[in-house]
Amino acid sequence: MAPKKDVLLQVRDLRIEGYSDEQWIEIVHGVDLTLHRGEVLGLIGESGAGKSTIGLAAMGFARDGCRISGGSIEFDGLELTTTSESDLRALRGSRIAYVAQSAAASFNPAHRIIDQHTEAPIQYRIQKRVEAQEDAMQLYERLRLPNPGEIGFRYPHQVSGGQLQRAMTAMAMACRPDLIIFDEPTTALDVTTQIEVLAAIRDIVDQFNTAAIYITHDLAVVAQMADTIKVLLKGEEIEEAPTEQMLDEPKEDYTKSLWAVRSFKRPQKARPAGPDAQPIVSVKGIEASYGKTKVLDDVSFDVYPGMTVAVVGESGSGKSTTARCITGLLPPTSGEILFKGEPLPPRYQDRSKDQLRQVQMIYQMADTALNPKIRICDIIGRPAQFYSGLRGTALKSRVDELLDLIELEPSKYYSRYPTELSGGQKQRIGIARALAADPSFIICDEVTSALDQLVAEGILKLLDRLQKEFNLAYMFITHDLATVRSIADEVVVMQKGKVVEQGPKDEMFTPPHHPYTDLLLSSVPEMDPNWLTSLLEERGTDQIGEAADV
């Protein structure tokens, strides 16, 4: 893939410091990096690994509150750490370009897309305005944007997210740079949109033989894009190897553990049989709307005791709205929700204390789900006190018991505040708070999507154990099909407020599928480096671009 083997970028012992609490703290501890012309390097790591900071440093740039404190960055023979700011500026945009995570926020809302595109080529006197615009249109065409002749004359907010991300890639290409830094370019996109952007980026980088640093936290994505993968952890390099080798035989324990994450899978349970088997929660034909826009249309499904129903869909599919209807936060406009055969009042204000107790919720963002000013013991203790009237030592022993259940040592965590805990620990506290009410049905809203993969796996295992222990029913809202595969018994697929398909998990994962389920399933990147290529061949190129980008 990399025909010319001369070195373009050579980073040695890079150290970067960040300013916090009135002092400079080192956040990148001596990273080395070598990139040849035309080569794509994948930087992978969990949040806080310093990936973006390193990516920006490759442009000689440090964000406000950060500084490059040591090491050397040599770009095509030029030492960037000692180059003046104006010389560095001359490099940026022309020889090194940057593609940011959120295209919607990174395009200036006040100017048309094409004017932002042509800014760099005009400034560097590479092209005149008209030439630059024509070139932009050609790039748009190569990136398979719809209406390449016209789309650039729109303002950023008039264009969809996936298209904007491709327009930004085109903008990075405007001066035909030697190196492009891609900083999580598809993280904010839905899986079906992600595919086109990935394909577009890979094509164009290939065509112009541009070198790239591809930053992401998603292994399967980086496997499609990179020639070489470098794994980072907390600002240090763990290991680096060519993609195939890295996927097949990772050396370090940390890398192996990352690779192994998706292996957790528990056997699928079947619905209880017999005439008196009754679903614990039964959603019957609910419809709901925000103002005039209808967001749920005839949604029905059942959840049986001790089982996990995964509700899957992309953003805007109505899966979280369904949860809001069940909890009573958003009363449905028609249809009803039965709990153990009894209809639940649509508004939570009208429900009895016992009805409220039975249905509990675990949230996606543990940071906002736990009150930072309340101690752990009170967060967990309050439901026990509120519903069961526990006081004094009885309450304390109940809290201890709950902390034991979520595998946090009571003596250590009892009187701490949430801010002193890690992300995974906070999520465990959220689980304990739900358990404290002694519920029979728990809604898990994307509980693992904000967590790093290893931590997420721990949470899934914990939820599974608790389910067996207390015969809990889960409604598991997620967009991540890997999670569905590992823990679901039944799957409900939603699209635009409707249930597209539902059934037992094994059935759902074996063809034939509903076309949307098929699109969803096939769009999830796999750890095989040839996955994207073969998928594109399978779908045929004409489909790309129209697939889901409506």
């Binding site: 920006l56 442009m59 740039f61 964000r63 406000d64 500026r89 001359a90 490099l91 940026r92 945009g93 022309s94 370009a97 940057y98 940011a100 959120s102 926020a105 990174s106 395009f107 200036n108 809302p109 006040a110 100017h111 800014e119 760099a120 400034q123 560097y124 729109r154 303002y155 907010h157 008039q158 903008m171």
Partner: protein, 318 residues
């Protein structure tokens, strides 16, 4: 453009309603008087006949809401009734003074607005340097000082001790424009000092807020030179906050003007209001309050309409 027109019209409608409610408030506040106006004006010692006579003269025997519409109708045509103290028509007392006040406020605004926006942008660019910190302390000090403190300091050092400017800003009809500017320089400067500090701080905050957005970082990563980042990328998005800052501070000038007029014995509407309050001359108080409130509401309205019109997302709808 339909969206924008609708938003602007809605905002204008809201402004009108607010003005209407405020006029009700101003009128009926006087109705809260223990007893009524006639009693209050004549005092406890007045005989029943004189009170009744005055009541008749002021038309107080009509129901309150009829008098309100009468008053509002008059106010809309520039007729605010008759002063209780001097018997002069309120509109006569107000008209020249209102012009004087407007002149003073405009004088201050013409200096303060460009100066503070310029300084605000500079301070935002030099943020977290020594210059920024000194500016922060100075502007905070200026904001914290009452107008009369600044006014008297200026009088002491620029009028009494050095005689550069007159301490009392009296006006006469036959003054040349240069003379006028010289005479009213100290009150204008006092207003400028207070308002500039406010505006500078708010402009700084607005610009810094903007400079943190991802598209500014993107522009810098495209190699756009710093001046162009500000002029081409930040400024088109900064109009809305800057317009707001300006309008808010012009509105603030209105309050400041009352105190400054008293300090410099300037024949403006503010001083008239203060005198009228002391003498409990309600028609004048009501008229002045309505004029001040209307100006205030109009400025806020202008700010909102301005930010709607400069918002790129609204100007180019989907």
């Amino acid at each position: 453009m339909g969206d924008i027109l609708q938003l602007v019209l809605r905002r204008l409608g809201l402004g009108l309603i607010t003005l209407f409610v405020v006029s009700i408030l101003i009128f009926f506040a006087v109705e809260l008087l223990p007893g009524d106006i006639a009693q209050a004006v004549l005092g406890q010692g007045a005989t029943a006949e004189t009170v009744a006579a005055l009541r008749e003269k002021l038309g107080l025997n009509d129901p309150a809401f009829i008098r309100y519409f009468h008053w509002l109708g008059g106010a809309l045509t520039g007729d605010f009734g008759v002063s209780l103290v001097s018997g002069e028509r309120v509109s006569d007392a107000i008209s020249t003074r209102f012009r004087n006040t407007l002149f003073l406020a405009t004088y201050a605004a013409v200096i303060a607005v460009p100066l503070s926006i310029f300084l605000g942008i500079i301070v935002a660019l030099l943020r977290n340097t020594l210059f920024d910190r000194v500016a922060n302390v100075l502007t905070l000090t200026s904001i914290s000082s009452p107008e009369f403190f600044l006014g008297y300091i200026l009088i002491l050092y620029l009028a009494v001790k050095t005689n550069y400017f007159p301490a009392i800003a009296s006006l006469s009809a036959d003054m040349s424009f240069g003379d006028l500017l010289h005479r009213t320089f100290l009150p204008a400067l006092t207003l400028v000092l207070v308002v500039t500090a406010h505006m500078m701080r708010m402009t700084r905050a607005a610009i810094i807020n903007l400079l943190a957005s991802p598209y500014i970082e993107m522009a810098r990563l495209k190699g756009v030179p710093p001046w162009k980042v500000i002029v081409r990328h930040a400024l088109p998005n900064a109009w809305a906050p800057i317009i707001n800052v300006v309008a808010l501070n012009l509105a603030y000038l209105i309050t400041g003007v009352v105190l400054v007029e008293v300090v410099f014995v300037y024949p403006g509407i503010g001083q008239l209001l203060v005198d009228a309050v002391a003498k409990r001359d309600f028609p004048i108080v009501q008229a002045c309050c309505l004029i001040f409130a209307a100006t205030f509401i109009l400025l806020n309205l202008a700010a909102d309409v301005g930010s709607i019109l400069t918002n790129p997302r609204l100007r180019h709808p989907k």
